[in-house]
Subunit: 203 residues, 2 copies
């Protein structure tokens, strides 16, 4: 008897979700949200953390100005409205990466508590880890790696965080890095140790 | 002699990039861009592909209306301008996932060639794989899983692709799925076979 029907062996696709993606990666996904003044060392420490995690076979991604401002958030300026939208999109993308099972690191000044809280509220309990890179303004300004403080002091950059716009320090960050004179590897190790102790480095 | 200096063992963080993330995942990252009419089976096939890849230990993520429209693209409507911005952001996010080493699947009607070309242009040669889910309009309309065709025919949804707005079929898609009566597993296998033959499933 000819059989033009599909095979009786029914294909049941397993729905791939956050849980199955996390098991495949043997880790618990989360957002490591680095916040701190310009020049505080957010990106440097985040890069070092990513490097340490890669060495341990962990799956990470780093969102920062380099890959966000020129792509997804191209066209957004520095008005209050655009700044809010800028961080909103970053939060939403970080959430997608968490859903994909990734440990996602973000390095943005993100000076306002309300903005950071909004991202925290997007994800589940324990998935938002606030990392306060606490470097005194004088130290940041003396480093001034991109010459931005100099420009801000000269009035060339309005609303510059720490100069003429406030930085609202986290009140109870999950990780508090006192980053004055701390070697990068120690700062990064502080983050990795936290992940280790809290069980993020296994599924 | 007391030593308050950091250790002489210098920490050289390896810069984690697309290449190192891909090696960790043992795959070549790419965008599987599913395009086709509403009801053509894009999401169903994409889900089945993701399931098959997960079984093989491959790292994937699926972007579709469910996780994009309510999050990153919340606030965008259906004007021409908003539709363009909708796909632009999806393309930029897909690019970030590729940079993270992921095989990212997207399931959006994306009816215009120019829009799809714009995403293709965002990434490197070979990273954009257009998957044309080619299902006759009559079949899509008879399935009408969300009742959208019925509403469109009743004039309740303006500019509905296939009814009163054009669908520009891909001219040379990397993968062409003739999805009339094809069992899901065969459609999905067609995609996985392509990835296998072209070497995407190993780093």
């Amino acid at each position: 008897m000819p059989n033009n029907q599909p095979s009786n062996i029914v294909f049941h696709p397993h729905s791939v979700d956050k849980s199955s993606r996390s098991r495949l990666k043997d880790q618990k996904p989360c957002i490591l949200w680095f916040t701190g003044l310009s020049g505080s060392g957010k990106s440097t420490i985040a890069n070092a953390v990513e490097s340490m995690l890669w060495e341990r076979g962990k799956h990470t991604y780093l969102l920062d100005g380099d890959n966000i401002r020129t792509g997804l958030n191209k066209g957004l300026g520095f008005s209050d409205e655009d700044r809010v939208e800028n961080l909103r999109r970053i939060g939403e993308v970080a959430k997608l990466f968490v859903d994909a099972g990734t440990i996602v690191l973000t390095a943005f000044i993100s000076p306002f508590r309300s903005e950071r809280q909004r991202v925290r509220d997007l994800v589940e309990e324990g998935e938002f880890i606030e990392v306060f890179v606490d470097t005194p303004l004088e130290v940041c300004e003396s480093r001034d790696p991109k010459g931005l403080y100099k420009k801000a002091r000269a009035g060339e950059i309005p609303d510059f965080t720490g100069i003429d716009s406030p930085y609202e320090a986290p009140e109870s960050p999950e990780i508090h890095i006192l980053n004055d004179r701390l070697p990068i590897e120690e700062a990064a190790a502080q983050v990795v140790d936290y992940l280790e102790k809290k069980g993020y480095l296994n599924a």
